[in-house]
Symmetry: C2
Subunit: 109 residues, 2 copies
């Protein structure tokens, strides 16, 4: 992509965009749903359920960890992934507030 100019926007806007990215791919939505519902936890179980190669799942997990919305505990040779509650709440609150900014009134179109 052409160089998303993050520095030209507010940190809040950039953080919202980053949190949204966690949900901006069906595979990551699936992963987050599985973790949130505690239907899976171990990386291998996620790989079994998802229609993607192990390396790809691992890549998505890495991205989710980078954003902070999940955490991973190693329990060799397995790794257990879970929702990272503080960031999950940050996302929930952030989007909640964002959606509340729009009040149903006179739109000009």
């Amino acid at each position: 992509m052409g160089v998303t100019k993050t520095e030209l926007f507010t940190v809040e806007q950039s953080r919202i965009a980053e949190l949204a990215k966690a949900f901006a791919h069906p595979a990551r939505v699936a992963i987050l749903q599985l973790l949130a519902q505690r239907k899976a936890c171990v990386c291998g179980d996620l790989v079994d359920v998802l229609p993607l190669a192990q390396a790809t799942v691992s890549q998505h997990l890495k991205e989710l960890k980078r954003i902070g919305i999940i955490k991973g505990d190693i329990d060799p040779p397995r790794v257990c992934y879970c929702i990272n509650e503080p960031v999950w709440e940050e996302a929930r609150d952030t989007f909640g507030q964002l959606f509340d900014v729009f009040i149903s009134e006179t739109n000009c179109c």
Copy 2:
């Protein structure tokens, strides 16, 4: 990107991902905030406020329109953009439900 295999996921998961994409770029967050707060409406005003070229803003607007979260009324030679309330609510409800799936209990990590 490598061919996001949308067909391998549920329509719900794909729709969530699509709605999330509306917020997955700081420029689109900025646009949606401006529209939601009714601080701008006309395309040209958005271009004035945003640190991006007109063509780029137009491209983002097109993507937001494709997702359905905004609509545009032409009032030649201007175009007035507004939040598309039904989809805005769809997004609000969708993410609300998604975040509520996770209940604060015993995480395994």
